[in-house]
């Protein structure tokens, strides 16, 4: 029995690891690729014959028209031009309609050459990708009954799978981007070399900082520096509105003390005055960054305390953050500060400029050790996220306008419509060019897949700020209550 248990336990363990891998980036991407390839094979088998039939049908359509025209001509005993012309005109209009119908509804690609098909393997692959990203151009679509049924069945798991994959990639990219951004930004910010001034600065501003930032919670913690844990639990209950923080884990006892020791070391005469707490919210998306931040906390400098800050209450902290209009302060440093200390109870506290500088300088000292760990919740300015997307669209537009010969506005329009997954289908790559259809399709697919991931990434990066901005506005308008989170 025990051995069975062991084996099953091992199975479960390995299974779990396998699943973890599957859900990891690479696994997911390969899954999606595999899925689209399966789709490509399937749809090519199903639709290729029908397309050939439609093509062959066009010549018989022409023949029908000819027959009708002959009939018109033949039946007129006296050829009157205007009457004859009227009837022929009408017949030509009907011919046009049948052409339009063939293109729009029957999936005809416009040429009767049966060697050049839309439903090649590449075309079917393109179709699968367009289908499960929900873009749905429509220039190539299933016309057989089986094709339609299989499309529906294929899309049901395919769409969430693709969404998951792209969101995953987007999140990974957002993480790296944030990291890069703050590396670059803080390198630029803290380039000023004033080391000596920094110490003085810290001392000078520390008092001010603590004037501003300490509230009862901190006071409680500081007073309890030696040992007492009860205040920390009390502080959690003091937070209005919601569970700002869970009591720090037991093993952080010594760590909490050390933090304040550290502050004390930097800044003599640490005042424990009353005042408002600094605000920096945990502005990030709940599920994933929680993972990240936990991980980063474990990795970070053991001297600094690890206090778990649940990210549930963005509203209050967010409101506080946005009430202080001195953006951009160095959110990284202040965020790190807040990582160590409990979030503020009063959402309207403000952070003075000198405190920002304090943070800059303070943070600079610990730059090397804690760099990567504080990437998780950094807010990236909205304009940066927007600029990224706009740049991508413009770049793509330049590319497609050159490659496909469209106008620049048309290309911008195409890129926008594609990336937002609207996908009208009035502009589709590989429709005009007769050679290199596959290259065109490949280019387009890569562009749109990466673009959607990029969109996910930008959304990830700026979502918090946007939502907080909206919430502040709503709160100012009196629509939202302060503590209540009525809406997203």
């Amino acid at each position: 029995m025990r051995e069975e248990e062991n084996n099953c336990g091992n199975c479960g363990y390995y299974f779990k690891n396998i699943i973890k891998f599957l859900i990891s980036h690479i696994g997911l991407v390969s899954l999606v690729i595999g899925y689209t390839i399966i789709g490509a094979f399937t749809f090519e088998r199903l639709e290729s014959d029908h397309e050939i039939k439609v093509k062959q049908n066009m010549s018989s359509v022409r023949k029908d028209v000819t027959d009708d025209l002959w009939g018109i001509t033949d039946h007129m005993e006296v050829l009157n031009e205007s009457i004859w012309a009227a009837e022929v005109r009408q017949r030509l209009k009907d011919f046009e309609k049948s052409l339009i119908k063939a293109i729009k509804t029957d999936g005809w690609d416009g040429s009767e050459d049966t060697t050049k098909q839309q439903w090649t393997f590449a075309g079917a692959l393109f179709y699968s990708i367009i289908l499960i990203t929900t873009i749905g151009y429509g220039h190539i679509a299933p016309k057989t009954d089986w094709g339609k049924v299989i499309t529906i069945i294929y899309a049901i798991p395919g769409v969430p799978l693709m969404m998951l994959c792209l969101a995953n990639i987007g999140d990974g990219m957002a993480h790296s981007f944030r990291f890069l951004y703050w590396k670059v930004c803080c390198y630029a910010c803290t380039k000023r070399p004033k080391k000596k001034r920094r110490v003085r600065h810290m001392r000078g501003s520390s008092r001010r900082m603590y004037d501003d930032m300490v509230d009862t919670d901190m006071r409680g913690l500081q007073r309890n520096r030696p040992s007492d844990r009860s205040h920390q639990t009390r502080s959690s209950q003091n937070s209005k509105g919601s569970d700002h923080l869970t009591p720090p884990p037991k093993e952080d006892d010594g760590r909490v003390a050390v933090l304040f020791n550290k502050y004390a070391l930097e800044t003599e005469g640490l005042p424990a005055d009353n005042g408002h707490m600094v605000t920096e919210n945990d502005r990030d998306i709940e599920g994933r960054p929680e993972r990240e931040s936990k991980r980063s906390r474990r990795d970070e400098d053991p001297d600094l305390p690890v206090i778990h800050q649940p990210r549930g209450q963005r509203t209050i902290s967010g409101g506080g953050y946005l009430d202080s209009p001195q953006m951009p302060r160095s959110p990284r440093s202040s965020e790190r500060y807040s990582r160590h200390l409990p979030p503020p109870a009063d959402p309207r506290s403000r952070l003075s400029r000198l405190d920002e500088e304090y943070y800059d300088d303070y943070e600079d000292e610990y730059d090397e050790e804690e760099d990567e760990d504080f990437v998780g919740d950094k807010p990236v300015p909205i304009w940066l996220g927007v600029m990224l997307v706009v740049a991508y669209i413009l770049g793509g537009a330049a590319l497609f306008s050159g490659w496909e010969g469209w106008g620049f506005l048309d290309s911008i329009y195409f890129c926008f419509i594609t990336l937002t997954t609207i996908g009208f289908g009035d502009f589709v790559p590989s429709q005009n060019i007769n050679e290199d259809v596959e290259l065109s399709i490949a280019l387009c697919s890569i562009y749109l897949l990466f673009g959607i991931a990029l969109l996910a990434m930008s959304f990830n990066l700026v979502q918090e700020e946007v939502i907080n901005n909206i919430k502040t506005m709503a709160r100012r308008l009196g629509i939202l209550k302060e503590e209540e989170d009525e809406d997203d």
Binding site: W84, L99, I103, S111, G136, G170, Y413
Partner: protein, 386 residues
């Protein structure tokens, strides 16, 4: 957009969880605060739920009017004029052929005519494919209801493509319309989806008589009434209203709606839509269901679209009302899809958690007692082994 929506739903649910834990910490409120609370809730409700619905409909109508003017009245008739010219040219040419072959030798006449038609075809096809020629002038194509459907297809990201902007102004307007409309749609889906999900849960739990209190709501310690979400199940059991009996020991009450039910709801909706459209548009039932599904999933190929944008055989009034009803159908359908998304996500997360827990507990089985399994929410797959 669906990615974004999924993320929002997930956050909302986690937030609900957190809020649930915090309930106990709220202070009791006085009568005045209760009234103020109620007032604010009312305003917020109007603004966020009902208001958003109205906002979306208004936005849609605004878009319809705007695009009707931009693309209909100020539209670009060049493809139609081109085609018209071509037709005239072709008629003239055929007349010349007919005149020339005085004896009307059929075969030769046919040959020449077929050749002419082929050339004609080669002119018309690019017009259709790249210039959006549809055989109807823009003023008639862009009726109010067609523009309504077009606007809908933009901000829901369905994007049929049977109607597409030709003018530059139209393209820019489409881009702007989408930029504003998509977040609005997201808001709508999230709000209305949540309401529908709560209603559905209420009905479902009542119908299956699960012990969640006589309503799908429970009263917290502070007196506020909150709907029950999946994650609150075990906590709720102890606090629920008087109809809960002896639930404290129960280990696995069902608090999420099974995925099959959600899929069933969507399938029924697609089926109903399919039947309606099959009737109206004279499509086959499969085609109509395929259309419903492709639209609701926002794929939106555009090969099958209600309303005769290619040519009008039906009465115009009829076509217009059908298109308007289709728009409403799609809006409601989007909310339903959002609701199902909501519910399925809850359920999937619960399942995954339980599954993970099962796997995790299995690993630790060597070091811990077997009794760990008794506390699992769902029966372990290794139950048979011990």
């Amino acid at each position: 957009m669906q990615t974004a929506y999924a993320r929002m739903v997930y956050e909302r649910q986690v937030r609900e969880q957190r809020r649930g834990t915090a309930e106990g910490n709220r202070q009791t409120s006085t009568l005045k605060t209760i009234l103020k609370d109620a007032c604010r809730r009312l305003i917020a409700f109007l603004f966020t739920q009902v208001g958003v619905c109205g906002l979306v409909v208004a936005y849609n109508i605004l878009g319809a009017f705007a695009f009707r003017v931009i693309e209909g009245e100020m539209g670009d008739p060049r493809p139609e004029e081109s085609a018209s010219e071509l037709r005239e040219h072709m008629v003239h040419r055929l007349w010349n052929v007919t005149l020339r072959l005085n004896v009307l030798e059929e075969t030769q006449w046919r040959e020449e005519v077929v050749g002419a038609l082929q050339e004609y075809q080669e002119f018309v096809v690019p017009l259709v494919k790249t210039k959006g020629y549809r055989g109807v002038y823009p003023k008639e194509t862009w009726s109010f209801s067609a523009a309504l459907m077009y606007s809908l297809s933009v901000y829901t990201t369905i994007g049929y493509g049977n109607l597409a902007p030709r003018t530059e102004l139209g393209k820019i307007a489409t881009i702007l319309y989408a930029i504003v409309g998509m977040p609005l749609m997201l808001l709508y889906m999230s709000n209305v989806g949540e309401i529908l999900a709560n209603i559905f849960k209420f009905i479902y739990f009542r119908a299956c008589r699960c012990d969640i209190g006589s309503l799908g709501y429970y009263r917290t310690a502070s007196g506020t009434i909150r709907p029950v979400t999946a994650s609150q199940n075990l906590r709720v059991n102890g606090q629920a209203g008087s109809s809960v009996k002896g639930q404290t020991g129960d280990s696995s009450p069902r608090r999420t709606i099974p995925i099959t039910w959600c899929l069933l709801v969507i399938a029924i909706y697609v089926g109903v839509g399919g039947l309606i459209f099959a009737q109206w548009e004279r499509w086959s039932v499969l085609d109509a269901c395929y259309f419903s599904y492709i639209s609701l999933s926002t794929i939106g190929f555009g090969d099958l679209v209600p309303g005769k944008t290619v040519e009008g055989e039906n009465d115009d009034q009829e076509v217009e009302s059908q298109q308007i009803i289709c728009t409403v159908y799609l809006l409601v359908g989007s909310a339903l899809v959002a609701m199902c998304f909501n519910l399925m996500q809850e359920e999937t997360i619960e399942n995954l958690k339980a599954f993970w827990r099962n796997l995790g507990c299995l690993r630790k089985k060597k070091t811990r007692k077997i009794s760990v399994e008794d506390n699992l929410q769902r029966p372990s797959r290794y139950d048979a082994d011990g």
